[in-house]
Symmetry: C2
Subunit: 441 residues, 2 copies
Amino acid sequence: MLKLDLSKIAPFVGDDLAAVYEELPRAHDYLINKTGRGNDFLGWVNLPFDYDKEEYARLKAAAARIREDSDVLVVIGIGGSYLGARAAIEYLRSPNYNLIKKDTPEIYFAGNNISGTALRELFGLIEGKRVSVNVISKSGTTTEPAIAFRLFKSYMEERYGKEEAARRIYATTDKARGALKGLADGEGYETFVIPDDVGGRYSVLTPVGLLPIAVAGIDTDRLLAGAAAAAEEYQKPGLDNTAWQYAAARNALYRKGYTTEILASYEPAFRFVSEWWKQLYGESEGKENKGIFPASVDLTADLHSMGQYIQQGLRNLMETVVNFEKTREDMIVGTDAANADGLNFLAGKTLSEINLAAIRGTALAHVDGGVPNLRIDLSDMEEEDFGRLIYFFEFACGLSGYLLEVNPFDQPGVEAYKKNMFALLGKPGYEKETEEIKKRL
Amino acid sequence: MLKLDLSKIAPFVGDDLAAVYEELPRAHDYLINKTGRGNDFLGWVNLPFDYDKEEYARLKAAAARIREDSDVLVVIGIGGSYLGARAAIEYLRSPNYNLIKKDTPEIYFAGNNISGTALRELFGLIEGKRVSVNVISKSGTTTEPAIAFRLFKSYMEERYGKEEAARRIYATTDKARGALKGLADGEGYETFVIPDDVGGRYSVLTPVGLLPIAVAGIDTDRLLAGAAAAAEEYQKPGLDNTAWQYAAARNALYRKGYTTEILASYEPAFRFVSEWWKQLYGESEGKENKGIFPASVDLTADLHSMGQYIQQGLRNLMETVVNFEKTREDMIVGTDAANADGLNFLAGKTLSEINLAAIRGTALAHVDGGVPNLRIDLSDMEEEDFGRLIYFFEFACGLSGYLLEVNPFDQPGVEAYKKNMFALLGKPGYEKETEEIKKRL
């Protein structure tokens, strides 16, 4: 179950919300009937029903094999090729997944930076352990994962020999074209497909996300079932559509000058869900010199760091809080005879009860301080509701982009740094750019 | 060595920079001669020289004892009582500190949230290991750490007996007053002092930060020496003062409408330094409905998530990049005969060289996209320069707050959520607030 509470934005949006609602049928139609900008990338809309069942069975078998024959899975990917899986694993298992006792492999994410310090450390962490690698790249030439994979490929071949290394490397890539697909076919890696019509930030429910998620021992059937239930719900147009309500609320607030949205949760496990959400919304909306800036906080920790700013800083902030009616675990505050800390008034209360008081008290405080507060409630921290949340955010994001009148499915700005970087590195074919950029430095 | 490159803000600030420089002598005087608002909290200014040497020797002895008799140190604190230590440990040792091979104890941070899931997991993680606890709280009654400490105190006493538990609990707190000081004296905990004139977000170089940092095997002498060198440098007024330059640049940009500052680094180990920085700046400046909103990104990872927004979104962003001339470790890209990934043009290059091309290429791309870019260069990722960076950010933050005409050393907004939370929880003394808040829900 996913509920949205908009009662704490009323004083901030006024009549603008009604105006936005009038634009929603068109945005909805763009997504359902593929009639808007970026309509080549709408494969995610029906993905929870409409996926390759044979491949999915093969993926689950591969995950079972990795759990059986490996102590470590190294996942090589950047952006949408790692954020979804990492979010799911931290959220559904633990932010300390690699530290906790478990009967599933450790999972490390590589190829999402160019740090020699980080990469060398990773090679130290996997020493002596049985390793499998999942390399995730549509093209196989994105610099960060390509560098990491080049190093891991030679590590695996040196350690296991070419044949066994090939058996331990899994490539998630284009179905037919590209450097990684060619290499995988040549070397005999098992491959999984990144569909042509699903962009990176929408790919968590494709093999991109599902293979590492399954290796972590998470029930992907339940995840997909939750997403499917959400798809059924949010594909129905109407004012009671929760995805409509979220898209409308944030867009109306944006028009009123609330140009930064802070996603907040009171569970540390949620942190990488926020990172995934930041890519989803930031990359979908941040173009043509507009868009809501996505930020995130971990509460209550950050009430003691960003809390001051949120309460009394520049008033261009809105806040969306994700709350859970039932958390995974709980503890009870005990009684202390001396009561030196003055906490006996909490004795017998669960941390969840206290946390809920913090959530409700903070929402009121922030609204009083001039920050519109949206609240999303999930039933629990399990697979179905997480699948539901993913699809909810995806669908609302598509709507939001169209309300903003941008193409929610491209990312033209991501090329700019790559072009300069290639020019500086003297990549063949960039001779003219190399000459030009050298003049600027 | 710490250098600041402002060459990429010139097109954005125009004459405003000169105007801000005229205001800096007064702001500087406020800090040095304690003549401005919040002047009760300027103990950090001379802290790198002016600290209790006897206590510092005792602190190092305690750290050595914890390293000797414990497998785990649990650090209980929130906000400034954990961010500085966590930043230092992740940055100078590793963001995977608890996973890497080492001869120093694991360190876990507790009491910075109200999550039963997180706390129960932590009790699982320390099972069977020898534990010490460092509880950090000026008053001892801040809800989050007080709850965690109540649970850990009874865990320690049950496990070790009262006497041995008391020997394994270290309290960093007020020198004379407060619930924790009273309790510590009563129970016989070794105590360390949070000075009266140093606020939480400025406390990393007091025992608040130094005890956990020393337990992690970091050389605190070198850290303090770097901070002392920085103090000597930045306490001299003048246009060549790098702290002046940073404070002036960001303030001038703020006046031009660049109201969000993104702190960026290309080393994953930097992430919690950014979290520490966000508290420092957000809590110091975010008041009276003004202040720069502090955000952070981990690059190059986030070039594939937030990168699109930074390149082409709403143009209210400035970016400060922290770069290292020498990283801790490095790796070299090898040659591959097939060159399927097209990376042979990088063969023989170090990851540092490639990372530097990303840093320079990205700066140019973002400037072309309308984002002013500031760059801080450190010599390396070691203790001295980290101490230098801490003091640099602290001093520049004090200046920045005065330029903004706020009190950089208070945090009146942090109380708002606490008041509501206590009212909702029925804390004795909050009867009137309880009645009022119930009407609102």
